[in-house]
Subunit: 406 residues, 2 copies
Amino acid sequence: MNAPLQGLRIVEISAFVAAPLAAMTLAQLGAEVIRIDPVGGNIDINRWPLAPNGNSIYWASLNKAKKSVTLALDTPEGQALARSIICDPAPNGGIVLTNLPPRGWMSYAQLAEHRPDLIMMRLTGNHDGSAAVDYTVNCASGFPIATGDSPAPVNHVLPAWDVGAGLYLALGILAAERVRRLEGRGQEITLALSDVMLATVGNLGYIGDVMINGTSREPIGNHLYGAFGRDFATADGRRVMLAAISNRQWRAIGKATGLSEKLAMIGALMEVDLDSEGGLFQARDAICAVLAPWFERRNLEQVRASLDGSGVLWGVYQDFRQLVEEDARCSLANPIFGEIEQEGIGRLLAPRGPLSFSASATPPVCQAPVIGKDTEHTLRQILKLTDEEIGQLIANKVIEETMTKV
Amino acid sequence: MNAPLQGLRIVEISAFVAAPLAAMTLAQLGAEVIRIDPVGGNIDINRWPLAPNGNSIYWASLNKAKKSVTLALDTPEGQALARSIICDPAPNGGIVLTNLPPRGWMSYAQLAEHRPDLIMMRLTGNHDGSAAVDYTVNCASGFPIATGDSPAPVNHVLPAWDVGAGLYLALGILAAERVRRLEGRGQEITLALSDVMLATVGNLGYIGDVMINGTSREPIGNHLYGAFGRDFATADGRRVMLAAISNRQWRAIGKATGLSEKLAMIGALMEVDLDSEGGLFQARDAICAVLAPWFERRNLEQVRASLDGSGVLWGVYQDFRQLVEEDARCSLANPIFGEIEQEGIGRLLAPRGPLSFSASATPPVCQAPVIGKDTEHTLRQILKLTDEEIGQLIANKVIEETMTKV
């Protein structure tokens, strides 16, 4: 069996989170991904977190399963090599993903002169081409103001807009590749990071809430909006999240805690219908007041014993260390993980892509390349360069000699 | 020109955020999406935010551009109709997306008896099939503990795991459809919501940070991790986010504020290299101490006048109302938006999908269906049912008569 995208070749010239994630996602589905960077690496090569020797754990984590080619992209000769790799006539090639601006040799028009059916997927900041990054998009989204329990904005830590954009980029490439396969034509696809935010705010109903109700969602701490849910402290200083988004889950909470009768009294007490999501939300403080002592009197293991298998929707708060050290889902017991020896960093538990295919091969978890590692091999294999031509490129500082020795 | 996924038919039987978002995303790329729900709607039909008349703005926002079919899915007759729609032999049909468990008529094996090349994309909670939702996945992820400026967990408001899962689901369908087109075989693809979280935590380097450094990222408030960035208050009570993830952006801050010389002194003061991202992060409190008064002495318009066009990376914090009312990107001036009359709700600014194709048609922004609206038409068109057969289904309460009149 082949992997789902076996044979497809994607060339990536990008940095940071969104575009590298997009290309890695396609690599994890079996595509050949060649990331081209300036000699020495792009602007994200030293991004935190770092290993003690200074190598970027971040970079290694977002570039798994790719090939790394480094070229002097600020020279006509380096640009010509990159163009030749992008526009190589292999039928499953001719796809480039970038967050560079559409100028000069990286414009669609100039590249398409060398391959008319080129597919170019381009990430921009805003739809007018101006700059934006996750941090500056997020502050505008409304979410930081609605996060936490005070009007002060709280930034997210997960770069959610970058992650969303990365997945839209991967989707856009597959959609355009389908068009090319069926109808023969390539095209440029663009995605603005801030449009990912705007579309998402709209898709979740918050634009409509403002336009129809004139309301802007307020911060409600860790309460679940529109149904029941909140965090609770346990006797041993842990915290758990409890939620009910269906009547079945709500009844399960009463049954598992033995508090059904008390919880049922809250309907009359607060004059709400506890069979409706909205009623649960309106009565949230009374519900939490009844439930909190139950959790405060039990340690995490007792809570687990009572709630696991009871139909109650709940989970434990963990920091990253607890996730790695205590959660069985974050271990080799979960088939999405493999163990890799990441050159320059060390032994890592690393995820493959999260999609599982029943009738296509799953590429194994792969390490990230050392920067520039595949330069010479790629120039020989795709562009058929000779020893002499490679030597000339090194002499001209278009490629780095050290890179060719790895 | 056709839309990218013109002709593809996806049947969705699901609820909540992730799977509905996946199907809507494919509809916004031109696919025909038929969402099948129980008569009266699925468990998400009344989810908040609601319009004053009780209709769900949330539901309408996540189901745009779909057809809605309602059937008595708890009866063999309703299940048989759903199966016939899913397994209809149209070459571009035979794709179903669901978050139902793989049991009975909704198992891949039983459905594939009626269409051997069926593609079934299934969302689960955990990889072992147990339940999980965004709230219970998020608490385990490590991010709530690292959010805000205290060790207390802060839940995200954006259901980021659901959004990510929705986009992976859409991607998985296109990857599997490519395999079917090239190699003729269908398959079941599964995605666990918690695996989306685990893969993302790993992809961003946080698993590696624990394994290599033994450290778990701590909460750092609104500071940008590993480079420079934080929020600042203006004289008129607004807040802005300022960031520098490149040396160019860092130098632009000094130039635009006239504080270059003072900022340069911080390198010696704090004994760090301000030309490195890590140095900026280590000196963040001193940098913010120098910059904060500059913002406190200016109102938002003055800040805007100084920073716009200066190469500084910045943005304004907005609540959802300010986003809708004050941000030009969230208006018809941005081509991703259209204005729709949403039946049962009202006039809405609504986004299309955020991907823009240069050589494929962009489907216009479409309203969501009224629940059940397309039931009779779909049964006639795809299953070729007659008036008599439709009447019998109504008599047997397999479909609802009122729904057929819309």
